[in-house]
Subunit: 366 residues, 2 copies
């Protein structure tokens, strides 16, 4: 049913965004730079993204008539979170063109589908994994994978939620119960040296662009800092990104998270079919940022040049971190980005700071 | 009647903007980066700025009830064009805090008030000028000023409109008739070497920040390119900017245009109490841009650091220039900014391109 569009969308066209969070907000700002209007679909009134959009639909994702009406008013529809329900995505794809497509969404939503795709189709290294539907599956799988290992829900995990590390047989019952006795995945525990990621995009003509490798540090399971470029060469991560984007026939920006081993080898941890928190530093790197890159990719525009002019470190402002806004606003070589959220609840992403870091020119765009 | 506010406005507050053009649009995007909402007041539906705002009032500037309601819904009100009618500005200042204040607006709207202020209060060099209310004034004034000289309407001139160059006595009648026999100013014609400008801001605590000197080239009386930093030292222009901002007790960003003589001396041509087309390059200079600087200044925030990381040349896209968007979108080290306007009429500003230029580091922030 879905129409396809390969010629570039004219400036002035309308881009629909499913989801009203900060990613939608920053996508909307980027779309405006290219003269596009945005239409935000979000169940809550006055969302961060709707504050910065030409049109807003406030309705539940389950209201498929609203989704279809919304999609029909847009020239292309995208999303800012990967947990868009399958029926919502399908309704959007009937009313308009959905980019990235439903296949990318289905793959990223389900850890079994994701790992199976990565291993068998994209042929990139992943941790050993087993599908878990019952406690008996779990008991069998720990023998294959060994300890330590990690039980994760198949769906809706984020920021370390829906995960349980098993160190021995005694943990099995507790892990299964804690995760709610639901369809899960058991993965081998990766003793990584560091966490890195890459932000890559693919345009409608197959053109691919990637920023350099990013080093990520988490605090309480939430991303704390992203530093780009990370030490080391980006070549292998970029190659893995190419395989993944191509095999999904993907249009748009993707965030790909890796574990890097002591040996330097990379293991793909997960993919996010959207702009990604570890790519916010691109806003102040002197090149086209991930938000504009996504807009260009889904509208059929040339991806453009994404060569860094200097390094950047991004630090998330979580919860009450935002109270230090005044200090950050005075820092030299720093850029403050706040999301317009009302309450600084613990764990809530309220904004971020991008700080310029100086890196020898030859090491900038490896 | 107007309340004053000197403590910083909390993120999440609402900034009102009188005017819905591209300057309002880019102010709105900048406000969003600091977590502010914007409310656009504009007589036309779906203006470039309203496409990117949380709230929109569509009403004439003469509808003072609407202006007051609008202002009362905002924590501070600013404007994106200097021809805001005086009664509109006053109504806004009753309903909220207007920044820059009505005095700056009144001064910039009337070339006689402007030149008198610049000469007598700010004590900066201006061209010789005479007030013209009748053709008899004009006949007398040409004898004082000499030829060539320029007759300009006191109000509502822009992009070279409302100006007539007189080369001799024969031009007097035609000049007076062409300008519509209205209150005018006769100015000495400045044989300048080049046109330069400066973008400066003053915060509520008196803090002042200026970007370096900018060289401007016009085509058909419309700004064509702005290049920063301009050759030469910015010191004198910055000093003049300080006098002007201070004497107006100004809060916000101001654009100041100069003629530069062969000797290097600067003559102030005009001031614009708002963000300025010759400051659009700041969006891609690796520092806080003029739009965010204005938002910071009017909300009582610290102005922050505005040190350039490299030079930039801005080129306006006028009318059908926008048809080359695809070429500009592919250029390395270039950033495209489009305004979401419907028709590319001749002379209409449709967007601009910022191109990075490399300048020795020591010459960047003179």
């Amino acid at each position: 049913m879905s129409r396809e569009m390969f010629s570039p969308l004219a400036t002035g066209s309308t881009i629909g965004i499913l989801g009203g969070g900060q990613l939608g907000r920053m996508l909307s700002a980027a779309a405006s730079r290219l003269g596009f209007k945005t239409h935000i679909y979000c169940p809550e009134v006055g969302s961060p993204a709707a504050q910065l959009a030409a049109y807003e639909t406030v309705a539940p994702y389950e209201d498929l008539d609203s989704v279809r009406d919304f999609a029909e008013s847009c020239d292309v529809v995208t999303y800012e979170f990967e947990n868009v329900p399958e029926f919502t995505a399908k309704a959007a794809a009937v009313g308009s063109i959905l980019r990235p497509g439903p296949k990318a969404l289905a793959t990223a939503q389900d850890r079994i589908a994701e790992k199976t795709f990565l291993k068998n189709t994209a042929k990139v290294p992943v941790a050993p994994f087993e599908q878990i539907d019952t406690i008996f599956d779990l008991k069998r799988a720990v023998k294959v994978i060994g300890y330590p290992c990690v039980l994760k829900t198949r769906r809706f995990g984020y920021d370390g939620k829906g995960q349980y590390v098993l160190k021995g047989e005694d943990d099995i019952a507790m892990a299964w119960e804690t995760l709610g006795e639901q369809p899960s995945i058991l993965e081998g525990f990766i003793a990584f040296k560091r966490e890195v990621s890459i932000i890559a995009a693919r345009g409608v003509n197959g053109e691919i662009a990637s920023y350099p490798l990013i080093e990520n540090v988490h605090k309480n399971h939430i991303l704390h800092t992203s530093t780009a470029p990370a030490d080391g060469h980006s070549g292998k991560a970029k190659a893995f990104a190419r395989y993944i984007l191509k095999e999904l026939n993907y249009f748009g920006v993707m965030g790909i998270e890796f574990f890097q081993m002591e040996s330097g080898d990379l293991i793909v941890n997960e993919i996010a079919p959207r702009v990604h928190n570890s790519g916010h530093w691109t806003q102040n790197a002197g090149c086209i940022d991930q938000f504009e890159l996504h807009i260009r990719a889904i509208t059929g525009w040339p991806l453009g040049h994404i060569q860094l002019k200097h390094g950047v470190q991004m630090t998330n402002l979580i919860g009450r971190d935002i109270e230090n806004w005044d200090t950050h606003a005075r820092e030299p070589d720093s850029f403050l980005h706040l999301y317009g959220k009302k309450e600084p609840k613990p764990g809530r992403k309220m904004g971020h700071v991008n700080r310029i870091i100086y890196v020898p020119r030859g090491q900038l765009n490896k």
